[in-house]
C-alpha cells in the first residue's frame, strides 16, 4: 500500500536539521511573507532564528485563525475506556511493566462515565485506551461505539493502530475521527523509547494515517510527544506528514496536537527542553503553514499558560479531564496516564473563555446533521 512511509524514506533528517539550524533572520522574514503550504517556510518558522519574530508570528497566526474559525473554540473530553497495554513505552504511565491497577470499562461503567460527561455539557468525546490488541481490540471498540455515538454528536478515538477494514467498520458505526500520534519521527529515538510490543513497529504506525484516510474517516489527528527528540525537527516532520496527507486524501480533515513530555508514573525527562516560548512558536508556525488545520490543546499545560495560548491558533480544547478509566465517577491519581496541569472544571474554563472573548462550542455544527 502506498503511504507516507514512501515519502518519509526520501527525507534526510540530517539535511533538514542542518538547514533548520542555519536559518537566518532573512529566511524567517521571507517565510513570514509566504508561509502557507510552504515547507521551507515552515522550517524557517520552526528554527531558532524565528524566536526573535515571535510577536509578528503570533499576530499573523491569531488573525489567520480568527479569519478561518472566528472566535470559536471546540470543547471535547477524553474518556479513558481502558489502561491495559501490551507495549513498553518509557514515557507513559500505562507502560506494560508499570505496576498500576489495570482496568477496562464494562458497559455499566462506561454508561456511568458517559452520564457524568453529558451532565457537564459535552457533546464531543475522545475515547482513549492503551494498546492491547487481544483484550481491547476491534471487537471491544465495535461493541461500545454505537452506544457512545448515540450520546455524542462527535466521537473520536485514540487507540492502537488498526487495519483499514477495522477503521471502515468503525466508520460505518459513526466514528468521526481517529488520533494517532507518531510520538517521534526519528526512528532511532523511537526505538529507544518503545522497547516491547507492537508499537515498536515504526513504519506500521507511520502508515496508520493513510489507512484511516482510505477507510473514509472524516478527521485524522497527528501529533508528536515534544521532548522525545529535537522538537523542532519532529515538528517539521509532522508538517511534511500533514502536507502529504492533505494532498493525497483531500476530502479528509486534519488536526494536530502538541503535547509536551510530562512527569508520569515511572517517568523520564525530556531530551530537548521545550519552554513556553517554544510552544508558542509551534502553534504559530503551524497555523501560518496551514490555515485550516485544527490545533488541539489538552489540560496538560498550566491554566495561566492555556489562557494565553487560546488566541494564538488553538481551535479545540479539553477541560476537567481525567486520564484514567472510570476517573469521572471515581477520581483518584494512581491510574493517571500523565499528571494534569490545568485543574479547572469545565465551567471555570468556559467562563474564562467567554471573558477572554471566545465562543466555547459544544457541538461541531457541520457534523450535527450527517448522522450515519
Amino acid at each position: 500500500m502506498k503511504s507516507f512511509v514512501d515519502e518519509f524514506e526520501k527525507l534526510s533528517a540530517d539535511v533538514m536539521s542542518l538547514k533548520l539550524y542555519s536559518t537566518t533572520a532573512q529566511d524567517v522574514e521571507r517565510a513570514l511573507l509566504n508561509p502557507t503550504g510552504n515547507l521551507s517556510s515552515l522550517m524557517a518558522l520552526l528554527s531558532p532564528a524565528a524566536i526573535a519574530y515571535l510577536e509578528p508570528m503570533a499576530q499573523q497566526s491569531a488573525a489567520l485563525t480568527r479569519q478561518r474559525f472566528g472566535a470559536n473554540l471546540g470543547l471535547f473530553l477524553p474518556l479513558y475506556v481502558s489502561n491495559l497495554c501490551a507495549n513498553e513505552c518509557d514515557y507513559c504511565g500505562f507502560s506494560m511493566s508499570n505496576k498500576v491497577k489495570r482496568k477496562t470499562l464494562n458497559q455499566d461503567e462506561l454508561n456511568q462515565e458517559i452520564a457524568i460527561i453529558k451532565q457537564r455539557g459535552f457533546d464531543s468525546v475522545l475515547l482513549v485506551s492503551g494498546e492491547h490488541e487481544t483484550k481491547v481490540g476491534i471487537d471491544y471498540f465495535e461493541s461500545i461505539l454505537p452506544h457512545v455515538k448515540s450520546k455524542f454528536s462527535h466521537v473520536a478515538i485514540e487507540v492502537q493502530p488498526l487495519e483499514t477494514m477495522h477503521y471502515q467498520r468503525l466508520a460505518k458505526l459513526g466514528l468521526d475521527a481517529v488520533m494517532v500520534y507518531q510520538e517521534t519521527y526519528r526512528p532511532h529515538t523511537y526505538a529507544k523509547h518503545h522497547t516491547r510490543g507492537k508499537k515498536q513497529d515504526f513504519n506500521y504506525r507511520l502508515a496508520t494515517a493513510d489507512r484511516i484516510a482510505k477507510a473514509g474517516i472524516d478527521k485524522i489527528g497527528l501529533g508528536v510527544l515534544l521532548g522525545l527528540d529535537d522538537w523542532r525537527l519532529d515538528a517539521l516532520f509532522m508538517g511534511h506528514h500533514l502536507q502529504y496527507l492533505e494532498k493525497t486524501y483531500w476530502r479528509t480533515r486534519y488536526s494536530i496536537s502538541l503535547p509536551r513530555l510530562r512527569p508520569c508514573t515511572g517517568g523520564i525527562t525530556p531530551k530537548v527542553e521545550l519552554n513556553d516560548a517554544g510552544l508558542v512558536q509551534l502553534i504559530c508556525a503551524f497555523r501560518l503553514f496551514n490555515p485550516q488545520v485544527e490545533i488541539s490543546l489538552s489540560t496538560r499545560e498550566l491554566a495561566s499558560l492555556r489562557d494565553n495560548l487560546w488566541a494564538l491558533g488553538i481551535t479545540h480544547l479539553s477541560a476537567g479531564s481525567s486520564t484514567q478509566p472510570g476517573g469521572y465517577l471515581n477520581p483518584s491519581t494512581q491510574l493517571d496516564q500523565f499528571e494534569i496541569s490545568d485543574d479547572r472544571s469545565v465551567d471555570q474554563v468556559v467562563s474564562r473563555l467567554k471573558q477572554l472573548g471566545f465562543n466555547p462550542l459544544w457541538k461541531d455544527w457541520e457534523m450535527a446533521w450527517i448522522n450515519q
Binding site: E55, Q59, A63, V280, N308
Partner: protein, 256 residues
C-alpha cells in the same frame, strides 16, 4: 521538461489548429510557436471538396496530435468521438471537450466527468477541458485523467485569466499537470499563467486571429519560456501589511 502520461515535452506552449485563414498560415504559426502538441477536431468528410491533407504536414513538424471531442454534447457522444479518434489517428490521447452551450462554449462538468471516468478505464490518456473548479479538477484526477485543463475565460474571448483565483487553487492542489486552456489573449497573459505555476498553456484564437499569426506565435513562445523560468527562479513575495493589535506574546516575559 513537462511530463504528461508517458510523453515528455520541452515546450510548455500547446496550440490549436482552428480559426487560421489558411492551412499554410496555420503550419507556419505552429512552427514559430515551437509547440509540440497540437489539438485537432474531427468531422465527417465533405465528399465534394478536395481533402487538404492536414496531418502529413503537421506530422512533419514533429508535433504530437491531440484530437478533441468538440461537437460532442454529452458523455456518450464524447466517448464515441474518442473511439473515432483512436481509429483515425492511432492515439489514445484525447482532449475531452463537451460544450452543449453554443453561446459561451462553457464545458459541461457532469458529462465531462462521466466521459473521463469511462475513457480512463478504457486506457485513454484523458485531458479534460473544464471550468476552473478546484473540486471538479480533483475528481477528474481521481478517476485517472493525465492532466486537467481549466479555462482562463470563454473560448475565443481573449479575456485572459478571469478565473485566476481558482486557477491558483487548482495549481496548488493538483497532482497532475495543469494546462490553462481558453481565453488567453496575449503573451503577457500566457506569461502570467506560467508565473503562477501552470504546467502549460494552450493558445489558439489569440494566435490564429492576430494580424500576424507567425509573429504572435513567436511572442507566445517567448512569453511561456520567460514565465516558466521566472516561476522556477522563485518570484519575490508580495508584501502584506498586518494590522498590529495588542501584544500577544508579552506574557512570555524575559524568558524568550
Amino acid at each position: 521538461m513537462l511530463t504528461i502520461s508517458d510523453h515528455q515535452f520541452t515546450s510548455r506552449l500547446f496550440t490549436g489548429t482552428g480559426k487560421f485563414s489558411d492551412q499554410d498560415m496555420m503550419l507556419a504559426a505552429i512552427k514559430q510557436s515551437q509547440s509540440q502538441l497540437v489539438t485537432l477536431a474531427m468531422k465527417r468528410i465533405d465528399l465534394h471538396t478536395n481533402h487538404d491533407n492536414l496531418l502529413a504536414p503537421l506530422q512533419s513538424l514533429g508535433v504530437k496530435l491531440l484530437p478533441n471531442t468538440a461537437g460532442a454534447r454529452n458523455a456518450k457522444e464524447a466517448i464515441f468521438a474518442a473511439h473515432l479518434a483512436y481509429e483515425m489517428l492511432g492515439t489514445k490521447w484525447i482532449k475531452l471537450e463537451i460544450h452543449p452551450d453554443h453561446k459561451y462554449l462553457m464545458p459541461d462538468p457532469i458529462e465531462t466527468l462521466l466521459a473521463a471516468k469511462q475513457l480512463c478505464d478504457e486506457g485513454f490518456v484523458v485531458m479534460p477541458y473544464v471550468h476552473a473548479d478546484p473540486v471538479l479538477c480533483r475528481r477528474l484526477e481521481d478517476v485517472g485523467c493525465a492532466a486537467v485543463m481549466p479555462l482562463g475565460s470563454p473560448i475565443g474571448s481573449n479575456q485572459g485569466l478571469a478565473t485566476e483565483t481558482f486557477l491558483k487553487i487548482i495549481i496548488e492542489q493538483a497532482q497532475v499537470p495543469v494546462i490553462i486552456d481558453a481565453g488567453i489573449g496575449s503573451p503577457s497573459q500566457a506569461c502570467h499563467a506560467m508565473e503562477m505555476g501552470a504546467d502549460a498553456v494552450l493558445v489558439n484564437t489569440a494566435i490564429a486571429s492576430s494580424a500576424q499569426p507567425e509573429k504572435m506565435a513567436q511572442c507566445f513562445a517567448q512569453a511561456v519560456i520567460t514565465g516558466r523560468q521566472a516561476y522556477e527562479a522563485g518570484l519575490g513575495p508580495v508584501n502584506r501589511q498586518a494590522l498590529a493589535t495588542s501584544p500577544l506574546t508579552g506574557f512570555l516575559g524575559q524568558s524568550v
